[in-house]
């Protein structure tokens, strides 16, 4: 046996770790030690980091995603904290001050009923965000449970449950929402239910696929060889590994739900006056499009666009962050 350089010390460690299969990026070796046993090689350099930390690093690197988080946080502060700072009358119709252009007293002017547009933007935003986020959460919970059960049990149960999803998916979302809303008077809970009812379907399909593939992964098989059962498989391995996909999907669901409630309100089937959401504001403002009252259209439209865009940016950032392959770079 020969000692390389006579030193059993590890070679310099300032070298990046990397998968062996990649183009020559590998860890530096380790000479044979004094017993002649071959050391298995060096530990990868750098501090061990948790999956969360590594994910966060990838997320933070994504400028758009960070912008998305900032926008979303700002909009939530704007809608929920804003009214505490910026007091406006949003209850009494005031025809004396209708359709005023932006000025010192009304930063974004007033609308046809004399409400302050900036204040209205805040209270309408509360409804859009509340309904959007609640509907997305509800859809995600229902979808995840439905999909996970179908995927994990498999066989006949899976086929049956998924055919129901297929059947419901064949009904156009907006059409179903319109029918339900024209039968029942829309209130916030009703809107949440209606939107969730139409959007859990895609989540359930996604989660079912994920469960089907995770169930047959080698690490779930390995756990079975150790004597582990189904509960452990679901809670220790399948759920944590699916959570990334679920989170990403939930973010996109928020964007979709906000877009859907805006669409409903724009068609006049959303929340009823005197409450209003961004879609309703837009719908009202569009009537005055030829009068040049831009402050009735642009602020509401802008809010809708940037909130949805922010949610999508966050979703895409999350998708990169939960992708283990990207974390490794």
């Amino acid at each position: 046996m020969s000692l390389a350089g006579g030193s059993p010390e590890p070679l310099p460690t300032d070298i990046k770790s990397g998968p062996m299969s990649d183009v020559g990026v590998a860890v530096v070796g380790y000479p044979e030690d004094a017993d002649g046993a071959v050391a298995a090689g060096l530990l990868p350099a750098g501090k061990p980091r948790s999956t969360f930390r590594r994910g966060l690093e990838v997320f933070v690197e994504n400028k758009l995603a960070v912008t998305g988080v900032c926008i979303f946080a700002f909009m939530i502060l704007f809608c929920f904290i804003g009214p505490l700072v910026y007091h406006t009358n949003q209850l009494k119709v005031d025809f004396a001050h209708e359709e005023l252009p932006p000025s010192g007293a009304h930063l974004l002017g007033t609308d046809a009923s004399g409400f302050d547009v900036l204040g209205r933007l805040m209270s309408a935003g509360q409804i859009s965000l509340e309904v959007g986020i609640a509907a997305a959460l509800l859809a995600t919970v229902v979808g995840v449970m439905w999909g996970a059960i179908a995927g994990y049990i498999g066989g006949f149960v899976d086929s049956f449950m998924m055919r129901i999803v297929d059947a419901l998916l064949s009904i156009p979302t907006l059409f179903l929402a319109l029918v339900v809303v024209s039968i029942i008077t829309p209130s916030k809970p009703v809107l949440i239910l209606v939107i969730a009812l139409t959007s859990w379907l895609t989540t359930s399909r996604l989660v079912r696929g994920e469960a089907l593939s995770l169930r047959t992964r080698d690490y779930v098989q390995a756990m079975k060889v150790m004597g582990g059962g189904g509960t452990r498989a679901v809670f220790r391995h399948i759920a944590p590994n699916a959570i990334g996909t679920i989170m990403v999907n939930a973010t996109f669901q928020v964007a979709d739900a906000i877009a859907l409630i805006v669409a409903l309100s724009y068609l006049g089937l959303g929340i009823r006056p005197p409450q209003q959401d961004w879609g309703g504001m837009l719908s009202n403002g569009v009537q005055y499009v030829y009068d040049g009252y831009w402050w009735l259209i642009i602020p509401a439209g802008f809010c809708i666009v940037i909130v949805i865009a922010a949610a999508i940016f966050i979703g895409e950032g999350l998708r990169d962050a939960v992708e283990v392959r990207l974390q490794r770079r």
Binding site: M20, V38, A40, A222, R232
Partner: protein
């Protein structure tokens, strides 16, 4: 004479987000017309990069930054993309590793072959189609006129690779680059494809560059060979000379790591310590210095040039091994004497209680159709009536092609599948009769080692929790006792204790396999089922793992069921071997007896098809091997399942299934009506059970 292809001082870099990989540094090679050049190396050595640089098909971020490639006198490394388009497919053809991903699934194979002819030869559709049929016939596709309108999914893996070769040949290139052409294929098919490439080379007079990780593949095929390491050619000479007298320590070490070179387990495989250098920041001096046995201080300072003491044998080393100068009469290894000795040992009957006894094991998988009702439309006979036993502390090796049922046997024994019939008796207890709950409690007795250790570990768990999980499931020990156990097992497999805070993806392939072994051993199992544990690893790393498995077997008294497609690895590691074919055990017995004196024609054929790193032997086996492809296991052939591919098959084979009968007193048994030799002593047939 000017060479067909010359590569001079080629340097290729791949720019990544944060670093630059110096994939190739000063590669110089030449290929004569009609010659076959073999490029061997481990993963990351730059062998594929060399091939891709010639074609200018480098991955994103890849650039040729220096050097010159000329084909037939024309410099092609500086050609524009348009210029290259004329070279690719026309003057240089290329075959890739995986024929399934390289073929377009939505086009018929005929159209895909015709495409190159249409592009480069300006032929009309009819001529192109005729040419497609012609080349399909050339590559040995049966009934080419009918097959030409098939889609890739309608063909088997071997046939798809033939289509790939046909595509590469359609325009009669002067040079064919085959990048690991057979790695994704079974050994019997591998032999057929390599033979085809060889045959076409002679018939069409084209040159071939054969890129492979397998020394055995080039032994029988290449005229000259180049060994690559860390983006450099470290040794190049004629194939015969390379195998007879390797001069670079890396080449020598690669040979030392081959299990087929070792006579038996008492002879440890030479394993190259450590791993290849990081090519984003290559060390100064010789790149192999960190792993070299003969390293001296000067190696770490300056890098040796590629030069040699004879004109056709060059190597990059200051302190070469082997014999200098003329190497006529280099020692041949005296295999015969060793073999005779081992066969005598093997002739002793083995007695004693078996740890594991598998009796008449049967497993069928149903094939269902229909989305809701899931009617059963057929059955795959994965394991059919298999019996064997393993004594404590021994290794039983199962070999066979993919689809022969060897993995299913492993899964049945590990409890991942339920048998349809037969018994698995471990330590006197039939595991198949236990309830689910009881079987789970027996889990520690049998553990499974996976082929892909990375996939078998939850990517979101650190090594600590991964190793703790089996203990937690079985409720063994307190937390601190578990920690002690984890530390002990990490020592055992040669990994630092600090590994517990790491994630599996931070480790290299060999280290992960050590982790896999550690997890399998932490429950102190009696039996370890190892399913292809080394087939995804490079030769040098494979040797490390095999040595470790042997050491642990000796120290802990482990019993292995070793499943592999690689006969030479199985022979090296096992005391007894079982050869499987299409769900049947066709031959079983002491490893050396089966390997050196096979009885069943399939075993013989399998041995002859395995590429051996010995040019003389490889040439001697030229015409042997198994013909055809594995039939479907849904409707296995009647009688003997091997008869469709057997050179000795007669009518009786189709009518009657041959029983497993003894051929020697040491437990050598085979199922064949017309075996290669008759049983030793007529009394044996009645005496043995």
């Amino acid at each position: 004479m000017a060479s067909l292809l010359t590569i001079e001082d080629l340097r290729t870099e791949i720019r990544l987000r944060s670093a630059t990989v110096h994939a190739l540094e000063g590669v110089s090679l030449s290929v004569e017309a009609g010659e076959c050049l073999g490029i061997v190396g481990e993963s990351g050595s730059g062998k594929t990069m060399t091939a891709l640089s010639i074609m200018q098909l480098l991955p994103p971020g890849g650039h040729i930054v220096g050097g010159k490639i000329s084909l037939d006198g024309q410099v092609i490394s500086s050609l524009s993309d348009d210029g290259m388009r004329h070279v690719r497919g026309n003057e240089v053809g290329m075959i890739f590793q995986d024929p399934m991903t390289s073929l377009n699934p939505t086009m018929t194979i005929g159209d895909q072959i015709a495409e190159t002819v249409l592009l480069h030869r300006g032929a009309d559709a009819k001529t192109a189609r005729a040419r497609a049929i012609e080349v399909l016939g050339l590559v040995g596709m049966p009934r080419p006129a009918e097959r030409v309108s098939n889609y890739p999914h309608q063909l088997s893996g071997g046939m798809r690779q033939r289509v790939m070769i046909a595509m590469a040949l359609a325009c009669e290139p002067k040079l064919l680059i085959a990048d690991e052409p057979t790695t994704a294929l079974d050994v019997t098919i591998q032999k057929q494809i390599l033979e085809l490439i060889d045959d076409l080379r002679h018939r069409l007079g084209m040159a071939v560059i054969l890129v492979t990780h397998d020394l055995g593949v080039i032994a029988g095929r290449a005229d000259r060979a180049a060994v690559m390491y860390a983006g450099r050619v470290v040794e190049t000479t004629t194939t015969a000379r390379l195998f007879a007298n390797p001069r670079h320590p890396y080449t020598e070490a690669l040979f030392g790591a081959l299990p087929e070179k070792a006579a038996d387990q008492s002879q440890r495989l030479y394993s190259i310590p450590g791993m290849p250098p990081d090519l984003t920041a290559p060390p100064a001096g010789c790149k192999f210095a960190a792993r070299c046995r003969y390293v001296q201080d000067s190696c770490r300072q300056t890098e040796p040039d590629l030069e040699g003491d004879t004109w056709d044998h060059a190597f990059r080393c200051f302190f070469p091994v082997g014999q200098a100068g003329d190497d006529e009469g280099v020692t041949q290894h005296h295999e015969t004497a060793i073999v005779r000795e081992r066969l005598e040992q093997a002739a002793q009957p083995q007695d004693g209680e078996a740890l594991l006894r598998v009796d008449n094991l049967v497993k069928n998988f149903s094939v269902t159709s229909g989305a809701v009702l899931q009617r059963k439309i057929g059955e795959v006979s994965a394991v059919a009536d298999v019996s064997f036993k393993i004594r404590p502390g021994a290794t039983f090796g199962v070999v066979g092609e993919s689809g022969c049922g060897k993995t299913t046997i492993g899964r049945l024994i590990a409890g991942l599948e339920k048998a349809n019939g037969g018994a698995i008796v471990l330590d006197g207890e039939d595991l198949t009769r236990l309830s689910k709950r009881e079987r789970r409690r027996r889990a520690p007795k049998v553990q499974l080692m996976f082929q892909d250790s990375y996939a078998s570990m939850d990517p979101r768990m650190r090594v600590g929790p991964i190793l703790r999980e089996p203990l937690a499931i079985q409720n063994i020990g307190s937390r601190s006792e578990q920690n002690d156990k984890i530390a002990a097992i990490l020592d055992e497999v040669g990994l630092p204790r600090a590994s517990v805070d790491r994630y599996p993806h931070e480790f290299s392939g060999g280290q992960r396999q050590r982790l896999g072994l550690a997890r399998a051993l932490i429950l102190s199992p009696q039996l370890v089922v190892a399913d292809e544990p080394v087939s995804a690893l490079d030769v040098s790393i494979q040797a490390q793992i095999l040595n470790l498995m042997l050491d642990l077997q000796r120290d802990l008294g482990l019993t292995y069921l070793f499943i592999s497609h690689d006969l030479s690895v199985v022979r090296y590691l096992s005391e007894n071997i079982g050869v499987m074919y299409l769900g049947k055990l066709v031959e079983t017995g002491p490893a050396d007896d089966v390997y050196y004196r096979p009885v069943h024609p399939y075993t013989r054929g399998l041995i002859d098809t395995v590429p051996v790193a010995d040019p003389a032997l490889a040439q001697a086996r030229e015409d042997k091997g198994v013909a055809g492809e594995l039939p479907s296991a849904i409707n296995p052939p009647s009688g003997c399942r091997f008869r469709t591919r057997c050179p000795r098959a007669q009518e009786l084979c189709a009518q009657e299934e041959p029983p497993l009968r003894p051929f020697a007193a040491n437990g050598h048994m085979a199922a064949c009506h017309f075996p290669l030799r008759e049983p030793e002593g007529a009394t044996l047939t009645t005496a043995a059970s």
